[in-house]
């Protein structure tokens, strides 16, 4: 197993509960949807994997290593293996598409001669090699999200976490982004995606973990969304 949660509980300093006694395991190369209402613990689940937060109790294992016990100096190396994309893309507005992607390689100290080929390969994978010199504000929302995916996958991470990546996108653009995420998954990267988008979850029939009030209430191998959802009725053709 690539990832294991053992009895993971997260209580925030404010007293709010993120997760309660969560046990689960995720295989390498899996594509997993995290669903559930807002505040169910989806983002907590993802942030525990990037060590943005640490569990209050229990263990989070990546490749058999308990990441709750990592020393602060080891966290950056974890984040090179576990990358995350967001609803708001978090692109740097004063850098071109290419520079945004290359930036991730440079700040993780990749040799200069390897930066260009790797950044170009990532842009090609997300279908944006022709927009390499454009600035983020010249791109559509879907394109910006694809740049953020390129930036996330450029160092060849083991896991890609996506926190509601289609939250700001219309349905058609969302499918474009999903297509890219599936392509990334097919290359061997494990993808864990939190979403409210029922059409996507139902359309792709991947593993679905449903969270509610911090607990796993459902774990289906080829699941559907169920529950109250943003269902636009537009399924892939």
């Amino acid at each position: 197993m690539l990832i294991r949660f053992y009895n993971v509980t997260k209580v925030y300093p404010s007293g709010a509960t993120g997760l309660v006694s969560v046990n689960t395991a995720i295989r390498k190369g899996e594509f997993l949807f995290l669903v559930g209402p807002s505040g169910a613990g989806k983002t907590t689940f993802l942030k525990l994997l990037t060590r943005e937060i640490v569990s209050t109790r229990g263990q989070v294992l990546l490749n058999g290593r308990n990441i709750t016990r990592l020393r602060p100096g080891e966290v950056p190396y974890l984040r090179r293996m576990v990358r995350m994309i967001f609803q708001d893309y978090k692109l740097l507005p004063n850098k071109t598409v290419y520079d945004n992607v290359a930036f991730a390689l440079m700040v993780t100290e990749k040799p200069r001669r390897r930066i260009r080929p790797l950044a170009n390969e990532a842009l090609k994978l997300v279908g944006l090699e022709s927009k390499a010199e454009a600035y983020p504000d010249e791109l559509s929302g879907g394109e910006q999200q694809r740049v953020s995916i390129a930036r996330a996958i450029v160092g060849d991470p083991t896991v890609l976490l996506a926190d509601e990546p289609t939250g700001n996108l219309d349905m058609e653009t969302s499918w474009d982004v999903m297509e890219v995420l599936l392509r990334v998954n097919r290359r061997g990267t494990t993808v864990i995606m939190s979403t409210h988008n029922a059409a996507i979850v139902d359309g792709l029939r991947q593993r679905v973990i449903e969270l509610d009030s911090g607990r796993i209430v459902r774990d289906d191998e080829k699941g559907v969304y169920e529950g109250e959802a943003e269902y636009n009725g537009i399924l892939p053709g």
Partner: protein, 294 residues
């Protein structure tokens, strides 16, 4: 922490850009004044220590002996004094020579000697010592010898001078801590501006797995540049100012044992610049680290 050359180039470029963007006349000026005041105190200390050394090297023990001693007796006493550990040399000063010296010292008031009638001074020896610190000890051993009626070496004066120098050194040290603290704070605040203007970039860097050191380097270089600029201004002003002062003071008070050579002052100014650079790097690092922990 191995840093490749190409990465170092990136750090330098980023640090320089930030420094250019955020440096202000007020922050540079305040920093320069802080380091300048520090330099002034250091110069005062250096000069006091110079005066101290000068005085200590010229310390002699004047040993007065009984009047009725024969030439052989005087010679034997001289040899006894020379035999004491730490004594560099002994010179006999006859009562007549002593009087001549007194007349010279008194200058216009030399008439006083005539009032006294006969020469009131006893025969004496001037004793030079190797180490000024042992003057008191040696004087006490000499006074224990026979036929000695008194010793004099300016008791208490060197101790007082030393105590004054020590007091100023402590005051200067306390001031240095405050002024260096101010420098760190000024550089830190400028670096904080940079941190805020680049908050998004730092967030992305942390997100993709940049190490804290990697994030901190450009800000430490920015601090270094600011520290260098501030301390260079004060270093140049201090050096030029001191040279002007010495130039004016020299003809008026040539007897003052102040430091007139350029080299020690230049060394002090270079040290201040190095100190400014180090403080800048420290401030950049500390403030960035604190920011990253939030």
């Amino acid at each position: 922490m191995r840093v490749r050359l190409s990465i170092m180039g990136y750090f330098l470029a980023e640090g320089w850009e930030s420094a250019k963007r955020n440096v202000s006349l007020i922050s540079l000026g305040t920093m320069a004044v802080s380091i300048f005041v520090l330099g002034v105190f250091a110069l005062i200390l250096m000069n006091l220590s110079n005066v101290n050394n000068h005085l200590r090297s010229s310390i002699e023990i004047r040993v007065y002996v009984e009047d009725n001693l024969t030439r052989q007796g005087l010679e034997a006493l001289k040899q006894q004094i020379e035999g004491i550990d730490g004594v560099d040399g002994v010179t006999y000063v006859s009562k007549d020579e002593g009087l001549n010296r007194l007349v010279k010292q008194l200058g216009e008031k030399a008439g006083l000697v005539d009032i006294l009638g006969e020469n009131p001074l006893p025969d004496a020896f001037d004793v030079r010592v190797f180490n000024a610190d042992s003057t008191g000890d040696i004087a006490s051993r000499i006074s224990d010898l026979p036929h000695i009626i008194g010793v004099n070496y300016g008791q208490g004066f060197t101790e007082k001078l030393l105590a004054t120098t020590r007091f100023i050194a402590i005051a200067a040290l306390a001031l240095a801590v405050i002024l260096l603290g101010a420098t760190v704070f000024i550089v830190g605040n400028t670096v904080r501006l940079s941190l805020h203007s680049r908050a998004q970039e730092i967030e992305v860097m942390k997100l993709v797995g940049a190490t804290d050191w990697f994030i901190m380097w450009p800000f430490m270089i920015e601090g270094m540049i600011l520290g260098f600029m501030g301390s260079s201004i004060s270093g140049v002003l201090l050096y030029a100012g001191y040279r002007v002062c010495i130039g004016r003071l020299g003809p008026v008070a040539p007897f003052l044992p102040v430091i007139a050579e350029a080299a020690p002052v230049a060394r002090l100014c270079v040290s201040l610049v190095i100190l400014g650079v180090l403080m800048g790097v420290l401030a950049g690092g500390v403030f960035t680290k604190k920011h990253l922990e939030i």
